[in-house]
Amino acid sequence: MAGKGRAVSAALLEIRGARKRFGGVVAVDDVSFDVRRGEFVSIIGPNGAGKTSVFNLITGAYAPDGGEIRLDGHSLVGKSLTAIARLGVARTFQTLQLFGSMRAVDNVVVALEARGVRGSQAYHRARRLLEDVGLADRAHALAHDLSFGQQRMLELARALAAEPKMLLLDEPTSGLSRGEVAALVEQLRRLRASGLTILMIEHDLRTVMAESDRVVVLHRGRTLATGTPADVRNHPDVVAAYLGESLERPRRAASAGKGNVLLAVEDLVTDRGDVRALDGVRLDVREGELLAIVGANGAGKSTLLGTLAGLYPPRSGRVTLCGEPIHGMPAEEIVRRGIALVPERRHVFEDLTVARNLELGAYARGGADDAELDRVYTLFPRLAERARLRAGTLSGGEQQMLAIARGLLAKPSLLLLDEPSLGLAPRVVAEIFDALDAVRRAGTTIVLVEQNALAALPLADRFAVMERGRITAMGNAADLSGDPRLAAAYLGTEVAQTLPTS
């Protein structure tokens, strides 16, 4: 009791049972934690855990459905963005929210002027802030002309211009080069030394574990654990949340290296906006194999699949399918060539029935016959039961099954899957992966991007590790699954180099 009392008195930010739902989707479901003055707290958790939603609740972008949020003992609930900002909360954004058409310096000046600092004084201070983040020489460039890394630093400078009591950082390192990350970490250390209270969402656990006083782990909208980095690292639930439970499944003889090359990727380079998302990817996929691509967020996994599927035009490089070049073709053409992508977060057509989603899956080849439909229905019996329901009413797992079934109905020679287990319960994940196993056995070649490595690898013939837009390692899945170093790969300490490369 007393302890709690002390904690509260020392706390700058208190969150108690915060809740937020959108229609059927629960984004935040009972989150509670404190941040004490001068503390550096990190929020971690798998995608879809509700991390950014928590930020939006704190800053007033969302109004909570329940619970209490206090800053310095004053409730923030029901206050406007502006009001909360003026109470001393500043933030950066996971997807950059700069004033693109304005000069870098003006981006910062706006924040200063909002607090009544005007004229030359504002510009003077703005330049100082830009120096601190190493943008002094880019002060007069338009924000959207800056490199991605510079833009992240600019957002930081803008947030600092508000001289906040509390700084919220949303994935500050994602998309940054190693050097930039180092510089950022330096900056954070300085800020922390100056006594600023920092709350950071971050996927790069190396940074998190090294820098944080305490770590809050969110999972499916709930606080799973809070404690020092050490406590958290060894917390079994956390490991589970990140790697998923390893699924009992007989190891299959790795067919790696057999079969001839179906897809060959050479020096593929793709830019997303100002970010160099793919930086010279070389890769080949053999007929009939399942290739698992693992790697931290922002490593470029989804961009790779998107580029292969034709959603993002590559800047340079070659992609050949059965020897025929397909790079630069639009998605609607590539699907006809036999590559189907099951995109991250499913993207089912929510207002259409399950059945019609499936029909659309076969759109490119002029529709599916009943036999083909029966096949996917036997693969996913739950879809058969729900054929007449709107896809939007399905559970996450069912939507994922629908997305996969929809992809299969394109009769692809190569099926690309992006994070199929995202935010799903282990039981459901098992179900889905069994289905994938069946699909692969039936002879469809599969490239799988998956966080839940322990679930994915037993299935995989080969794996590839992606880091910062490149494939840094490839090998036989057999050599890797169950390997403790894998956990390290996710929870920090370099691993890619130490893995056997093919």
């Binding site: 800053t59 972008a61 406007s80 963005l81 502006t82 909360i84 900002a85 003026r86 909360v89 500043a90 933030r91 954004f93 929210q97 700069l98 004033f99 693109g100 058409s101 304005m102 003006d106 981006n107 000046v109 706006v110 924040a111 002027e113 909002a114 607090r115 005007r118 504002a122 803008r158 947030a159 211009a161 508000a162």
Partner: protein
Amino acid sequence: MATVRNACSAIAVALLIAVPFLHNGYLTGLLVVVAIDALAATGLGLLVGAAGEVSLAQAAFMGIGAYATALLAGHGWNAWLAIIGAGAVVVALAAVVGYPTLRLRGHYLTLATLGLGIIVFVALNEASPLTGGPSGYGDYPSLRIGALRLSGDVPFYVLAWLCVALAVIGGAALRASWRGRALRAISASEVAAASVGVSVRARKLEAFVLSAVAASLAGSIYAFYVGFISPTSFGFEQSVFLLVMVVLGGAETATGPVFGSLLFVIANEVLQALGSHLFPSTAQSAVAALQIVAFGIVLIVVMRLLPRGVAGAWLEKVAR
């Protein structure tokens, strides 16, 4: 940037000062009309360019300005006071209407302003005891400086373009001020702007009111220049045309809308002159139609070639 704007506004003003010395009442008169549109468009440009809001109520504020001025002057106010009075009326109205309206976003804001415009239009028609209704209102004294009565084109030419120059310079200054920066920040990302403490609604409301004031002034000048006003001059189409002028000229700079109005009116008039003198009078009905077709096509082509508008286009040139 600011220097570019000022230089460009200076030249524009100089160019337009030059024209009356052509001793041509028609051209001068034409440029008075341009100036009146330019004034209203400059205001709208602030809203579209700086705040990123599309309003279809601009002609309505022009109308209120015109009618308020005429009525006050008609009821014995000093004409100049009447202009100021009208401005005050519009400020009050814009503030009251803008406050709830600016909560809306995108199409919904556009629709609400459109509705506002139509409501005003109907009001001008229906309040006939006061406004003369659809038949219009012309029973008010003309503008005078001391004993000197302002009539004819040249005095209004000077007056109107002075106001435009002031509006442009004021607009440029505002865009360069902290308010302007805040506005651009809001139009770039409302969330981000709010979360660094910019008071979104206050800034938006300011922009809305200021643009309305410019329109009101334009209306006042129109009322005295033409000497007769009727609702048809301030209807939906006029609002659309003002928007076209803004986008045509480019909303990013304070001078863009001025060039827009110049282009809009001159293009229109040149087509008109071409038609009426290259073809026999018997063909004029057809020619009138052809003018419209040509005008529509010009509009499409310009927008396709210069999506940032004329001013925007040469800003790009300058940038390189």
